[in-house]
C-alpha cells in the first residue's frame, strides 16, 4: 500500500463519528491532564487503560495517543500562567512564557504555543508518513557513544539558558549533575546517595523537582506581596499579533525539525528537544537579551519542539515496534491487550491501525487547535484573580498533583524541599533552569559513557573513531570554546573593575 493510498485508507477509517468521538475524548482528557500539574499522561493512560478494553484496537489507540499529544498542548498552559510546568517537557516554556504573562501577554503566549504545537505536530505527522522507515533505520546508528557525544553537545548549550552570570550557571549545572547521580547506579546497581529511601532509588523524580523549583519557589517569592495579581501590567492582547507571528515563524519551523528528529531517537521526546530549541533560538536571535524576559520565540520554539517530539516518538514505535518512552510503552501495552503485537510488521499486518493512528494525528491536531484557541480568553482571566485566592488554589493543585503521581508523600516532600532550595537560590541570584536540565541529562551522559567503554573494552578511542560521535564531539568542543572565551573575557573585565575600584 503506497503512502497516499494508505493515508486515504486511514482517513476513511477515522472519519467515523464513533472514532472521531474517541479521538476528541482523548485530546480533551489529554489537555486537561496536561493543564493539571503533576498528573501526567502516564497516569491518565494507566487509569483509562481498562476502559479501552471494550473498544476496538484502533479506537483505543487513537484515544490514548490523543491523550499523549493533548497533554503536550495543555502542559504549556500552567507553565505560562503560573510558572508551574504542567508536565516535565513544559519546563522550558516557563522561562519566557511566564514572563510574558506577567507583562499582560499571556494570551499571545498561549496562542503562539497552540499554533506552534499545531504546526509542529502536523509537520511531524507528514514527516512520519514519508520518512519513518528509513529514518528509524538511520536512528539505529545512534549507540552509546553517539548518545554520549550528543549529551556533551547539549551540556555545552546549557549555559546559554542562563541570563546572568555564567559562572553561577556552571555551579548550578554541577549541582544538577550531582543530583542526577542519586539512585541506583545503572551499570552496577549500586545505590548511590539514597539514604535508605526506596523512593530515591529511582533517582530524584523529575516532576516533583520541576514543580518545586519553578512553581513552589515562585509562590514563596510572591508571598510577601500584599494585594496583587500575577499581572504586573495591563493585559495587552488576547491573541498573538502579526508581528508576533512573523517573529515566531522561524522558531516554529526550526522547532519542528529539532523536535521531530530528536524525538525519534530512543529515549526521545521529553525535555531535550525543547531545551535545544530554546538555546538555539537564543543563540541566533538578534536580541538575545530578551530571552528570559518574555521573548515570544522562547515560547514558540520549545512548544513546537515539544509537540513535534511527541509525534517523532511514534516513529520507532510504528516502524520498529519499540516504544521509546514510558508513555508510548503504555500505548504498546494497550495494543498488546487487544492482541496486536506492534512490532516491525505493524504496517503490513495491521494497516488499519497503522494508518488509522496516523490519520487520527492530523485530526487530533486540528481538534486541539480549535479547542485551545477559544479557551485562551478564559485562561487569561485567571490571571486577574486576586493572588490571595489564586495562591492557595495553585498550592492545592501542586500538592495533590504531586501526590497523585504515585500516591507517595515523599515526592511531595521533595517538591517542597526543592521549592525552598529554588527560592533561596533565586533570591541569591542563581538560575534554576540549568540545574534542572543538567539533572535530566546527567544520568544519560554517564550511562552512555560507561556503556561505551564497556563496548570498547575500556578504550576511549571509540568516541572519535565513530563518525557521528566524532562530529557531535567536535561541535560540542567548538561551542565550549566559544562560550568559554566569552566567559573568560567577561570575568577578566569584572576583575579589572574590582581591582580598579579597590585602588
Amino acid at each position: 500500500m503506497d503512502i497516499f493510498g494508505g493515508l486515504l485508507f486511514g482517513f476513511k477509517n477515522v472519519l467515523h463519528p464513533d472514532i472521531l468521538f474517541y479521538c476528541f475524548l482523548g485530546v480533551v482528557i489529554g489537555t486537561l491532564i496536561g493543564v493539571l500539574p503533576g498528573i501526567g499522561p502516564i497516569a491518565a493512560m494507566s487509569i483509562l487503560l481498562p476502559t479501552t478494553f471494550g473498544l476496538s484496537p484502533a479506537s483505543a489507540i487513537i484515544m490514548l495517543a490523543g491523550i499523549y499529544y493533548g497533554a503536550m498542548y495543555g502542559g504549556s498552559t500552567t507553565s505560562i500562567l503560573v510558572n508551574i510546568p504542567g508536565e516535565a517537557a513544559s519546563v522550558i516554556t516557563c522561562l519566557d512564557g511566564y514572563q510574558m504573562a506577567k507583562k499582560g501577554r499571556a494570551g499571545p503566549a498561549l496562542g503562539i504555543s497552540a499554533i506552534g504545537s499545531f504546526i509542529g505536530g502536523t509537520l511531524s505527522v507528514i514527516a512520519l508518513m514519508f520518512i519513518a522507515i528509513p529514518l528509524s533505520n538511520a536512528a539505529l546508528k545512534f549507540g552509546p557513544p553517539e548518545f554520549f557525544s550528543l549529551m556533551c553537545l547539549s551540556m555545552s548549550l546549557i549555559s546559554y539558558l542562563a541570563r546572568g552570570s555564567t559562572f553561577n550557571a556552571i555551579i548550578m549545572i554541577i549541582i544538577g549533575l550531582i543530583l542526577g547521580t542519586v539512585g541506583m547506579d545503572p551499570i552496577t546497581g549500586f545505590p548511590r546517595f539514597y539514604f535508605g529511601s526506596s523512593t530515591l532509588l529511582d533517582g530524584i523524580g523529575l516532576i516533583p523537582v520541576a514543580m518545586g523549583l519553578f512553581g513552589i519557589s515562585e509562590i514563596l517569592m510572591n508571598i510577601e506581596l500584599k494585594e496583587r495579581t500575577i499581572l504586573e501590567t495591563k493585559i495587552k492582547n488576547i491573541f498573538p499579533t502579526l508581528k508576533d507571528m512573523k517573529r515566531s515563524i522561524g522558531a516554529i519551523l526550526r522547532g519542528s525539525v529539532i523536535g521531530f528528529f530528536i524525538g525519534l531517537l530512543p529515549g526521545g521526546g521529553g525535555v531535550i528537544p525543547t531545551f535545544i530549541s530554546y538555546t538555539l533560538e537564543k543563540r541566533i536571535s538578534k536580541n538575545p537579551n530578551e530571552f528570559g524576559n518574555g521573548a515570544i520565540e522562547g515560547v514558540a520554539g520549545p512548544e513546537t519542539a515539544n509537540n513535534a517530539g511527541s509525534t517523532g516518538a511514534f516513529v520507532p514505535m510504528l516502524a520498529l515496534g519499540i516504544p521509546p518512552n514510558p508513555v508510548l510503552a503504555i500505548l504498546f501495552g494497550a495494543l498488546l491487550m487487544h492482541g496486536v503485537v506492534a512490532g516491525p510488521l505493524l504496517m503490513q499486518r495491521y494497516p488499519d491501525i497503522f494508518w488509522g493512528v496516523i490519520a487520527s494525528m492530523y485530526v487530533g491536531n486540528i481538534m486541539l487547535l480549535i479547542l485551545n484557541l477559544p479557551l485562551i480568553g478564559l485562561w487569561v482571566k485567571v490571571l486577574k484573580i486576586p493572588y490571595r485566592m489564586l495562591m492557595p488554589l495553585i498550592l492545592l493543585f501542586c500538592l495533590v498533583g504531586c501526590y497523585a503521581i504515585n500516591n507517595n508523600p515523599i515526592e511531595v516532600f521533595i517538591m517542597i524541599i526543592f521549592g525552598l532550595i529554588g527560592y533561596c537560590l533565586r533570591r541569591l541570584g542563581y538560575e534554576l533552569a540549568p540545574m534542572l536540565i543538567a539533572m535530566i541529562l546527567g544520568p544519560f551522559m554517564e550511562t552512555n559513557f560507561r556503556n561505551s567503554l564497556l563496548i570498547s573494552d575500556g578504550s576511549l578511542k571509540i568516541f572519535i573513531t565513530r563518525p557521528i560521535s566524532a562530529i557531535l564531539l567536535i561541535a560540542a568542543a567548538c561551542l565550549f570554546v566559544t562560550s568559554g572565551l566569552s566567559v573568560y573575557k567577561k570575568t577578566k573585565k569584572k576583575i579589572k573593575e574590582v581591582v580598579i575600584s579597590d585602588d
Binding site: 491532564i33 550531582i178 495533590v400
Partner: protein, 150 residues
Amino acid sequence: MVNPNTFLIVILVSLGISISIYSYKIGIGSINNPGPGLFPFLLGSLLFLLSLYKINIFFKKKRLDETTHVRLFFKKLFALLFLLFFYAIFIDLIGYIFTTFITFSFIFRIAGYKNWFKIITYTICIMFISYLGFTYLGVRLPQGLLKMVY
C-alpha cells in the same frame, strides 16, 4: 544574621567535600573502567574547586553592589513552609479531607484573608470540589480518618 551568600558558599564547599569523599569510598575505578563513584567524585571535586574560586571573587567584590545582604526569611515564609510540610506528613495519616481542611484554612489566612468565616467557607468549597474532581479523574486520595467513619 549570617550573610546568606556566605552561608551558601559554605554549604557548597562542604557539599563538594563530602560528595567527593563518599564517591571515593564507593569506588571510582579508573577512567577506562569507571566505578559507581567516578562521576560523582569528579563532580564533587569540581564543585569544591569552583566554590573556592567563588570565595575568592566574593572577597574581592565585597564592596561592590552584589546582593550581599539579602533577607531571605520571613515569618510568613516559615509559616507557609511549615504548613506545606505538615500537609506532606499528614496526608497519608489523617487523610485528604482533614489534612486539606486544616492546612488550607491557614494557607488562606496567610494569603491575606482575615475573615474566618470566609476562610472556612472557601476551604470547604475547594476541599470538596477538588476531592470530587480528582477522584473522578481516577486519583485515589487517602481516606485516613474517614476509615473510622465507615
